[in-house]
Amino acid sequence: MIQARIAKRFPPQPDSAAFSLDIELQARAGVTALFGASGAGKTLTLECIAGFTRPDAGRILLDEQILFDADSHVNLRPQQRNCGYVFQNYALFPHMTLRQNLLFAAERRPRLERHRRVNEMIERFHLADASGRRPHEVSGGQKQRCSIARALIGSPRLLLLDEPARGLDAPLRAELYALLRQIRTEFQVPILLVTHDLDECFELAEDMLIIRDGRVVQSGPPRKILEQPASVEVARLLGIANLFEAEITALDPGRNTSRLRFQDQELTGTYYPGHLLGDRVWLCVRAEELRAVKHNGARPEPNQIAAKLLRVAEKPQSVRLEFSGDIAVELPRQEFERQKDNKDWLVEFPSGSLRVL
């Protein structure tokens, strides 16, 4: 288990604004994603844990060992930390063959065991054909597997992955995910995965930390976070398209309903505990939770809003409709095919989908 409390301050520079990192995290065996925009401090967090960057304050604990403690001036060197690190560009030594790369990582082991271990990893990561070649002579997938094998060869107690899927095409990405899932079960160590890809978090992570401007703004299982973002900023980071300012006009705990006014329309949602009548809130709805139906001129039903279709954006599995009032709806392709001749539209807000922040 890794437990870290890391603070680091960077004063403003002529070419960059001031930045401060202040992060607390805890991860058990399994994948924990550090999710956030670039520049949020995700990689810096990994660098502090690996020992490449010294925090100003805090404490980093791996299992029972103190890697860093500002108060007692403990700061282990990267060499002593035994954290596997997979770099963004893999950082395989270009002047060595893949086998030599693995041997370099195994050099602290006794000579006989070293070769056995390297052979074992070559076998396990399907690198036999490429082991005699240098990184620039092998495929992207082989590089990727070799860098992960190299990080794991010393049996680290923690695996740090810095955007391993960045710049990969879809098949390689799928291959990487399969490999990481396999590693998660075989090596029972905490894996910290830095990413700015939400799909990746859902694909791999049991837990995720959302990092913004050097702070953890929300943490928990990905599904839970998507269901209930803690703030507008988190909702924006998660790519939730529909965020509107709204006002609570009625609250009825008895019937478990509330009424919201937004864009001069009234919507009915579930009861929102902790809010007061007249509160100005953010209404947050995911595009795929909304429905769009034909407006046949009749009076709209409750929670339906007449809107003008402005733009249609095609996606592989779905279609995204952008309506007036900044409303975005994502429909399955087939459903859109049935309705694409609609002239006028109604957007339907199911009451269970209306979340307030």
Partner: protein, 222 residues
Amino acid sequence: MAVNWFPLWLSLRVAALATLVSLALGLWIAYVLANRKFRGKELLDAVVTLPLVLPPTVLGYYLLVALGRTSPLGHLYEYLFGAPLVFTWQAAVVASTFHAIPLLVKSARAAFETVDRSYEKAARNLGASDWRVFWRVTLPLSRRAVIAASVLAFARALGDFGATLMIAGDIPGRTQTASIAIYDAVESGNTLVARVLVLVLSAVAIAIVYAANRLQQRQVIG
């Protein structure tokens, strides 16, 4: 009149030794400059660069003061080896080393700094000591630039005149290097000797610069 080849051999030997000494010292200084943060780092860089911009006679004068028979270092050398350093061929090595080292330090520092830091980080992360990171990762990845720089350092060591003359003197058959021999030959009207040495040195210089350029070009491609 036969040409005396001794000055040429002496020059080559002195330059080769000076290059080796500059490599040993220069790579270390370059590594420190490229990797460590400390007060006075740029001052150290400036001091190391000084021989590149100082007139060689000024450098020679400093060396004479620092290593002469009355100086502490000169005493130490005499105590250790039983004879003074100045006006020996070893002194010529010292002069050439100082003449050649700035080039080596400058190029090696630049080469070390262009090595992608993630390779060094990866090596340290995999448990390699700083020493091993340097020998197994940093140096191999900048080897072409370092070899090219040593070739140029060799050429500069070969061409030193002023500093060598100041502390090694002009003793024919003992400390008279090729460039000094050329000066001597012209002074005493031995144009043939001067011409032969000039041509040979020019040929060596062209070969060296050509080789260094080839090495640096390949560095860019591969």
